[in-house]
Symmetry: D2
Subunit: 409 residues, 4 copies
């Protein structure tokens, strides 16, 4: 078995582990060093570092401290990696801990981050998903079971100082256009809850003050939340600093395109088995700015879809110009209304679309003024037949259960 180079203790605070960090900064020391060609295992906290529990209350989702997230394992240094290289990462496997066979999904309160449909679901809710081998189901959402397309939500290399500076500058400019907005427009550096790995003292304080938050995806990859970056995929990451500094976390048992519920996919703690190689000077050889990847040969075949269209006219009937975000929101809302006809509550449907291997396609982006987006709902994940027929919905799911909700305090 490959060596586990970063270990965690689920009962311990991630702040006590020097091989964990929750900000991006070039000064964070390597947690461990490996060589090109090596394969190794890294253990990861769930993205909140254990703030969410396997119970039937959404209080923990409501009260979560989002300045702490995401707890990442790393950075792993690769001998010989230099700025301009491509770091080739094979995801050889991802798994759960024997003692932690569950994951969570939730909607944040609109007061604390919100989500894609926060106007429709403004308060904290949660669903818990049990793992049975490669399958999962939830006691809060009846009538579905499916295999996980397990993947890391967040993976990438440390930024250079120049890149970090550019990130902070452009996000601050956006933030400043509407500083009082809730949810906020961007998550700016915040030293109080920063965990900078092995850094300590003044060096830590300085880095913490300017360390980029882990929330958005950026040039290096980062929090891309791409469900297809799954076990078996090969990813080509730009390298910006000596030794590369690869960090990973935010493991998902399964997720729909868009990770619409924000909190988030089916979030889990677990381990990831990686192999690394280098393409020297690869950024220039292939004109790489953002990571590229090849998908896994091993993905669940949920490919009988029912497809919902959405256009960029919002819920109030207002016309937007080629806005795919609005269009996808309409497709999602259309799917939720459809599922309600089969007995689901709105919250169940919303959570399901965030967790199941739903596809979101950009279908038309030039036919002014409407963008068109489609949501692809796999029908094989349902116990009942959810396809349309001449008689209307037949069997419906057992009602009674729903996602626990915790009102804002």
């Amino acid at each position: 078995m490959a060596e586990t180079i970063i270990k965690i203790d689920l009962k311990q605070s991630p702040y006590e582990n020097e091989q964990i960090h929750n900000r991006w900064h070039p000064d964070i020391p390597m947690a461990s060093m490996v060589k090109p060609g090596d394969d190794f295992i890294i253990e990861c906290h769930d993205w909140t570092g254990g703030q969410i529990h396997n119970n039937d209350s959404a209080d923990d989702v409501r009260d979560v401290d989002l300045t702490q997230v995401h707890f990442l394992s790393g950075p792993v240094g690769i001998e010989g990696a230099e700025p301009g290289d491509l770091l080739v990462v094979d995801i050889l496997d991802i798994g759960t801990f024997e003692e932690s066979q569950w994951g969570f999904n939730g909607f944040f309160s609109k007061q604390n981050g919100g989500g894609f449909l926060t106007e429709h679901f403004p308060e904290a809710q949660k669903s818990i998903w049990d793992f049975n081998g490669m399958f999962t189901k939830s006691r809060h959402i009846p009538g579905v079971e499916f295999a996980g397309l397990i993947h890391p939500g967040l993976i990438g290399c440390l930024p250079s100082k120049e890149m970090l500076s550019e990130w902070n500058k452009r996000e601050k400019e956006l933030y400043d256009t509407e500083p009082d907005r809730i949810p906020q427009l961007a998550a700016l550096p915040y030293a109080d809850t920063a965990h900078m790995g092995k850094l300590s003292g003044t060096a830590k304080q300085q880095a913490a003050a300017e360390g980029a938050r882990t929330v958005p995806p950026r040039e290096h990859g980062g929090n891309c939340d791409i469900k297809d970056l799954s076990r078996g995929a090969t990813i080509y990451f730009p390298v910006y600093v000596k030794d590369g500094g690869l960090s990973v976390g935010d493991l998902h048992f399964s997720q729909g395109d868009g990770e619409i519920t924000f909190c988030g996919a089916i979030e889990m703690a677990g381990w990831i088995h990686l192999r690394v190689n280098l393409i020297k000077g690869g950024m220039d050889k292939y004109a790489i700015k953002n990571p590229i990847f090849k998908p896994s040969p091993l993905t669940p075949k949920y490919d009988d879809y029912l497809i919902f269209e959405g256009i960029s006219v919002d819920e109030q009937g207002k016309q937007h110009y080629l806005d795919v975000h609005v269009a996808y929101r309409q497709a999602v809302l259309n799917a939720i209304e459809y599922l309600k006809k089969f007995g689901y509550t709105g919250a169940q449907a919303y959570s399901l679309l965030g967790c199941a291997p739903v596809q979101g396609h950009i279908s038309g982006v030039v036919d002014i003024p409407n963008a068109c987006a489609t949501l692809w709902l796999p029908t094989d994940i349902f116990d009942i037949d959810v396809k349309p027929n001449a008689n209307g919905p037949g069997a419906k799911v057992t009602q009674g259960s729903d996602l626990p909700l915790s009102k804002d305090k």
Copy 2:
């Protein structure tokens, strides 16, 4: 063989054919009537009605009159269809005309509609694609051949008066926010070039003055440009007027998600074989606002992908808030730069991404402030190996050819 209920003559102007129209309006008389359960064939002009020719000049793309498009065949009335029903349409087949074994793709001049990357490709260009059975290749783009995922870009039922009125209102409001913008924000009604099928005289004039343009997708479907609405798919359309009034056109031999080049996919004239049925009261039974569909069991298997990521930071480094349109543009630009390393010109790469069965996925829409979108490039369509390796690009495509360009006058 099923009956051909709408015939066209490629040598005749579509304006001379009463079974063609190019605006949406409830008053357009049915071109033909069928019964539920019937299957039938409809012939279609290419979307421009023959304005673009199989030659090596982009003058026709530059000079195209976009107020004429799209020429649609129909409307077909279905006996018994009433507002609130769902019209179930099986696309049994789509084909080309023996005498017209080619299609076109192009970029409009920024002065005349532009396209997704009009800032990068501001002048008219064109590529011609030859059909060889189910495959296509272009003399303007070397080293690619692929099977077509043939589909109608535009299909849907006539709107009601109320719906038409709503369309015109909301699009006018958007247009008025920046009326001098080029390209324009919306295509408003324009009577001069309207073709209202069998309507004539005052009735025609009145309808032409308020008939909605065919450019955007809307609640009824319309110009969705969804490549997966292909031969073999089943679509459920909302019905808004008595007899439904199904129209179809804008056939594509193949298209990438987004139809980024706007002019457009691989555009072609041809025929489509449909079967229709009704779900009475289906809009309410299934809470349907926009069409839904089931994809075809028969689609080309180009599923070895190289995937490019893009985030919502634009070419000038400006940060946008969860803007999937910007993110997808970056993914597309990243793919173009990559392909240039293999010998393609930028225009060749751009056209190819508009024509080939490229997928565009919405990958993250909640990780503030960056949306993440991915472009999935199928690698099996290339003669050469375009996957990355340690040595950099090996074989390159034969250079010399390029897309003809016609400068603005």
Copy 3:
């Protein structure tokens, strides 16, 4: 459009067409010549040359003259082809004739060829399949509709004199082991009904007397009845004579692995669009004895299977040694019994397994003394749900119809 180099007239006897032949012999003159790189269209009779009709009697199946089959179009000569080359054939497309939108499937009488289950279905029966675009269904088999995986049952190059001699020798030896067996062990040369293309006079008589029958697949390919040799596939054929001499026929709209009903798949007349190229000396370069091929990128996705196992213990309980033929027969019989529980007659089920895109896998061939074979039944071709559940079969197909049967005279 590519040129049609071999045309047929469905109302004319294939014997009157010099570009048709029904035996394999190196002396048959080329029907037409093409160059490497050319693409062209060839029209084909159904394999019986029109002996079977679109009606509700199986008399024609009972009375068919099997010494006439298969009527092949060709041979097509390829300039420069020499023995030892590989002929690369791209199947660009296959289609039906507008005036012939149907196909047939049947069981021969045990007295006249029989079939895989002739002990169970000893008399002639027939099912007729109507084509609706890319889909088909049968008035003799309720509750199924599916897209065709259209392909030629028979395609290959002319044998050399030496190869022909070897074929005749080895098949005669087998035949002679049980010359009175019904059905016969092999179909030997038979001059009376031979059609030798352009050959006439003595040359024809001589060739007819030794021309190999077209029934079995052999080293050159021939009557392989491989459903995956479909439109879009690329095949590499050994070349044995100057100019190659490619012939093709026996088009199938769809077929299950094994073509178990023998008469046969969904048999049809139609046309095939081919492109040819050469790999000089390819047989040696790649150690090729039999053809190899790459499957099409375009195949129907019927991939939700119910899989039936069979072992090499026959219907009488007798143990056979690693006999895949017996094992597959048991898997087929198991599937038939299963389908009868859903309301199908045995004949309907048998015919369906011969026509639908059923897979037959060789699952175990070493676990003495039992071979294990599996039959993969695609469940999406059925209108009803045929998967097992705790309650037993739910909805059944409408009964009443069945395959017409004609008793032996």
Copy 4:
């Protein structure tokens, strides 16, 4: 985590574990009892019980005692199961032991069981495969790496007394037709090495004398070696005795259709996670004789194939009558010759075809006198491009390594 109801110790002889057995007999007591709806984990020895080692000598394969195999874990009793029921088994997961990250494949000596190509490879050889997460590669076969389609080679319920008696009778009859044959025609009961689980004393002796060997697949399933019975599949097993008595073993990391090398697939020790349910009276409800199953939604996508044809004319040119076994052997030999052109030795190619997810299709079984079978070789498992082109094989694999061979003593 589900409970592990059967544990093993890789350092202990399986004969010392009461929850293991290596013969089929209705008297073997249940090793453990579960309820319908339960899920649980079972640990399994490799099929030889540890006789083969991770080294570079084939002595252990040559000297293996095949009367000991297969060591099965079970039988597991299911409360309420009765003869005539169907036992529904969901394979929730399968995994390896952390301390045993490897598997083996080999050819038995013709003196000791042989294999599919024992005439061509008559002596013992072995390849060792290392597991890297979900991927595997072998130090004895260069240039390949692929994801495992992990599955149990052997699984099924205990036979009734009547069924056992029938098995013994028919296999003895076959054996007696050629009792001196090597390899033998069937493996008859053999008490000396029988392990009958919890049975002891006279009861054990009696059962051991008549217990059926585990080698062949039979009505109950058993040693089917079906690669598609993989993690994620659902199987419906006939029940013949009270409580059912489900046993499982012979885990494979990967296997090609046919398990042609006999020793066998990539053989491994490991664990399997199962869930059981009952369909009362299901054998009659669905006319079930042999198990049926639904394949997993999670299988490796190695679907770019190069397909080799074989017909039932053997290596000596002798004609066989519709013999799929002979036809598949020719397809396999054709593939081996092809791979040798890319630098593989014959033994490497043979082993690879037994281990990789190769498909074996029954393509034609009625075209007298030749059966046609096809071997589907996935091309994506190779580091080099193995597809044909005009120039002949390009890059070849690194030569020098080969499978160790141990000569007969």
